[in-house]
């Protein structure tokens, strides 16, 4: 073989130098390949690790914190909830259907690796200009890909978000979150246990799929797509489903020590990670790996990213039993290696040793490579867009027209076109599914309890201020859970950023982490899992800092859950929380001014948390008939959504003419509905707790909104709200950009 340059695998010259030095010899090509994956940003978190350490990771309920395949939090009833988010941005940009589908498959297997049964998916999506052909292609491909995988595998997609911003044109974001349930005693981790244990590879046979996928996720999307041809993988949700059932059945066998899914990097990364947690070595024999494509080289086998595979570490003696379960389900399973004392990752093909690497160098050596200070990084040439190319002028002049127009904004408009393509009701837990409330409410069968989950991000906020925006996003997610009466338990975060080798990006990254940290600390909840996606940038454009927060909470009593829509005529409707909000970073500002603006002042986290806890208590006392978090589009849109979801109208007698009151955005505000009978009690309670409470209007049987005397029928509002997404795909010629 001609001498090849390891730089072609994505390794940096200083990294290559450290490897050569520490190895004391020239690694062979298989070894370079294994290094390149383990040391890729995607697998090693080499750039982000020092920052991620700032996040609060522990707390009373935390059973498993970051560092495992998913975080796990105790629900207090013998069950625990496992959850994590993952990005599949780069593959989805070139093949939206399969890119998104395999992303869903990957995050489901992360949850499965904890021994948990996956019970729900959420998806957070970002696209560029919705009026272009490319965005339609991406949007429809991504949504059908997520639906294809999630629906087929029988895990409901119960919520999520879709937002548009000019800088996502070349770099769409596809973040998927999965939630699983596990009995505390059935919890598993990705460990190898003692030397002598055996490693089983189970699932689909290995093919030449996605070799170097992780490296691909760690570079900019620049240049002709032709070069990316080999890197897309095709997933098979049918095998994914078999893998869930077979694995959960196999885990009943005593003697299974640990397991891990094969994700980015395949066999080159998963077994060493398991060994690290147990302080052991590993010896694999690639000749035992079941192949889909005959005659694969050792290099290809060890680097393959074929989907729907797991590695299990088992005590000797139980392997036949485990293999039998997988085979019963029609899957491949084979003992491919064993746990050894020697701290090395040794890979054989039959008798021949094809790689022999010291575990500590492989896993942690990358941390020894000097990373220059932020100041030494390039400033980069790609920029972000801060003006809206689709600004609407002039702004509609009446409240009624303004509301009808705002409801059509792609970020506010109904996402029905998306979520009706997802099976959100399978597994019969979805008390509140997509489109109905602020979060998804998932019944814990056999109890009155529910797990409530949401995903939130807001690129406008983080563009105005990465730190302050991140704070607000975390609080916003908590407010969504509280609207359903759920107490927030924990966070998973997906950090989508541009190129970290450019100073502005790394600075934003640091500020966002600080914001996430401060907000999580204020709420008193941990960040138990997460994912980082860098290099979301093209030659000219970089995405805005886009942290996406997944949050999970517990609702104690489903019977006390407030509705999401107005419940009864005659009830009084209030704003619960501060009347002050920001036009800076709001949809209103972006849509009609075409700019992002500024925040007036930082949010007082402690105050939001206090108001939030007071609302939880009011819900617990049974006072709140319906509740909805005020988010994009402000109070005006929140009220309209509560009316549209049901069949009752609302009369607001006199409207404060200040647009900031009706259209401003800030977390810590809800619309709540209270029966006249409880009104005094609640007003007193709010006063005692220092919760600002402002009366807005009265629910009426007549299906109209009445705004300072102007009335609009709910049907007209619904029509405006529902029209936007179907409109993307109807006729209107799009530029083919």
């Amino acid at each position: 073989m001609a001498k090849q340059n390891p730089e072609t695998l994505g390794l940096m010259p200083p990294e290559i130098q450290v490897i050569r030095q520490r190895m004391g010899r020239e690694p062979n090509w298989v070894e370079w390949g294994i290094f390149s994956l383990n040391w890729s940003e995607h697998c090693s978190y080499k750039t982000s690790k020092p920052f991620l350490k700032m996040l609060p990771r522990t707390g009373p309920g935390v059973v498993v914190g970051p560092g495992q395949n998913a975080g796990v939090i105790d629900l207090g009833n013998g069950w625990a909830v496992a959850f994590k988010v993952e990005s599949h941005n780069h593959p989805s940009a070139i093949e939206p259907f399969h890119g998104a589908a395999t992303g869903v498959g990957g995050i489901i297997r992360d949850i499965l690796s904890m021994g948990a049964r996956p019970i729900a998916l959420l998806d957070s999506l970002r696209f560029g200009d919705p009026y272009t052909w490319r965005t339609r292609w991406l949007l429809s491909g991504v949504v059908s890909g997520i639906g294809f995988y999630g629906n087929s595998i029988g895990v409901p997609t119960v919520g999520g978000e879709v937002r548009f911003g000019p800088d996502y044109q070349e770099n769409p974001l596809v973040n998927a979150m999965c939630i699983g349930l596990v009995r505390l005693e059935g919890l598993k981790q990705a460990v190898t246990g003692k030397p002598g244990n055996l490693l089983i590879l189970a699932g689909a046979p290995t093919g030449k799929d996605g070799i170097h996928g992780a490296t691909f996720a760690s570079i900019d999307l620049i240049g002709p797509e032709e070069e990316k041809r080999p890197n897309v993988q095709i997933g098979d949700p049918f095998y994914g489903k078999l893998l869930i059932e077979a694995t959960l059945e196999a885990l009943e066998i005593p003697g299974i020590v640990g397991l891990q899914d094969l994700g980015a990097g395949g066999l080159s990364t998963a077994p060493p990670e398991m060994a690290r947690r147990s302080g052991t070595g590993i010896e694999l024999d690639l000749s035992q790996v079941p192949l889909r494509t005959p005659q694969m080289t050792p290099y290809e086998i060890v680097l393959s990213e074929s989907q729907e595979r797991m590695v299990l570490a088992v005590q000797p003696g139980v392997e036949e039993q485990v293999l039998a379960v997988y085979r019963k389900w029609g899957l491949e399973a084979q003992v491919i290696g064993r746990v050894i004392e020697d701290p090395v990752y040794r890979v054989r093909f039959g008798k021949e040793v094809v790689a022999d690497l010291p575990m500590d160098l492989l896993l942690d050596g990358v941390d020894e490579v000097p990373q220059g200070p932020i100041g030494s990084l390039s400033t980069g040439s790609a920029t972000s867009t801060h003006t809206n190319p689709h600004r609407i002028t002039p702004q509609p002049s009446t409240w009624a027209d303004l509301l009808l127009d705002l409801l059509q904004d792609p970020d506010i408009a109904s996402k029905r076109w998306v979520y009706e393509q997802y099976d959100w009701s399978v597994q019969t837990r979805s008390v509140v599914g997509p489109g109905k409330g602020d979060g998804a409410v998932l019944w814990l069968k056999g109890t009155k309890q529910a797990v409530v989950a949401t995903m939130d991000g807001n690129w406008r906020w983080t563009s105005v201020s990465p730190y302050e925006g991140a704070v607000r996003i975390v609080l916003e997610a908590a407010c969504n859970l509280v609207a359903h009466g759920a107490k927030p338990l924990g966070i998973t975060d997906c950090l989508n950023f541009a190129n970290p080798q450019e100073a502005p990006t790394l600075q934003e990254f640091e500020q966002v982490i600080q914001g996430l940290r401060d907000a999580a600390l204020a709420l008193g909840i941990p960040v138990v899992s997460g994912n980082v996606s860098f290099y979301n940038q093209s030659e000219t454009r970089r995405i805005p800092p886009t942290p996406v927060v997944g949050m999970v909470g517990l609702l104690e009593d489903l019977e006390r859950m407030p509705q999401a829509n107005f419940a009864q005529p005659g009830n009084r409707v209030y704003l619960w929380g501060s009347p002050q909000a920001d036009l800076g970073g709001s949809v209103y500002q972006w849509r009609y001014q075409g700019t992002l603006g500024e925040f007036r002042k930082p949010i007082t986290k402690e105050e939001v948390v206090r108001i939030l806890h007071a609302l939880l208590e009011a819900i617990h006392r049974g006072w709140i008939r319906s509740a909805h978090d005020v988010s994009e589009g402000g109070i005006l849109v929140a009220i309209a959504e509560m009316a549209i979801q049901g069949s009752y109208g609302l009369e607001i007698p006199a409207m404060d003419p200040d647009p900031a009151f009706w259209l401003g955005e800030a977390p810590g505000r809800w619309i709540v509905e209270i029966s006249p009978r409880d009104a005094h009690l609640v007003e007193d309670f709010a006063r005692q707790r220092g919760v600002p409470l402002r009366f807005l209007g009265t629910v009426q049987a007549d299906p109209h909104l009445s705004l300072s005397g102007q009335t609009i029928s709910l049907d007209r509002l619904r029509d405006a709200y529902e029209r936007t997404f179907p409109g993307f795909f109807e006729g209107r010629d799009a530029s083919t950009q």
């Binding site: 030449k208 897309v232 095709i234 098979d236 049918f238």
Partner: protein, 86 residues
């Protein structure tokens, strides 16, 4: 303008996993068709279009294939037939 009838075939690239083909092959084998060694599933697309002549029709079909009908990242295609309507 003359009317043409065309037929295009689109398959996943041969090195990529074809989950459908895999499932169909297994099913055929279990149904007793043990002689089946491999199955690949693709799309057949019949298109009726107007064009000035044969070569224009072919050019447009190629354009369609590249812009919409296939994703070259994962798929290969071929124009199986192109005939003018009598």
């Amino acid at each position: 303008m003359p009317v043409y009838h065309a037929e295009l075939l689109v398959y996943l690239r041969p090195d990529l996993l074809d989950p459908q083909g895999r499932a169909v092959k297994h099913a055929l084998n279990t149904l007793g068709f043990h002689e089946v060694e491999d199955v690949r599933m693709g799309k057949a697309i019949r298109i009726r279009l107007q064009a000035e002549n044969d070569s224009q029709a072919r050019d447009r079909l190629k354009e369609m294939a590249e812009k919409l009908l296939t994703n070259p990242v994962i798929e290969d295609y071929r124009i199986l037939s192109l005939e003018q309507e009598p």
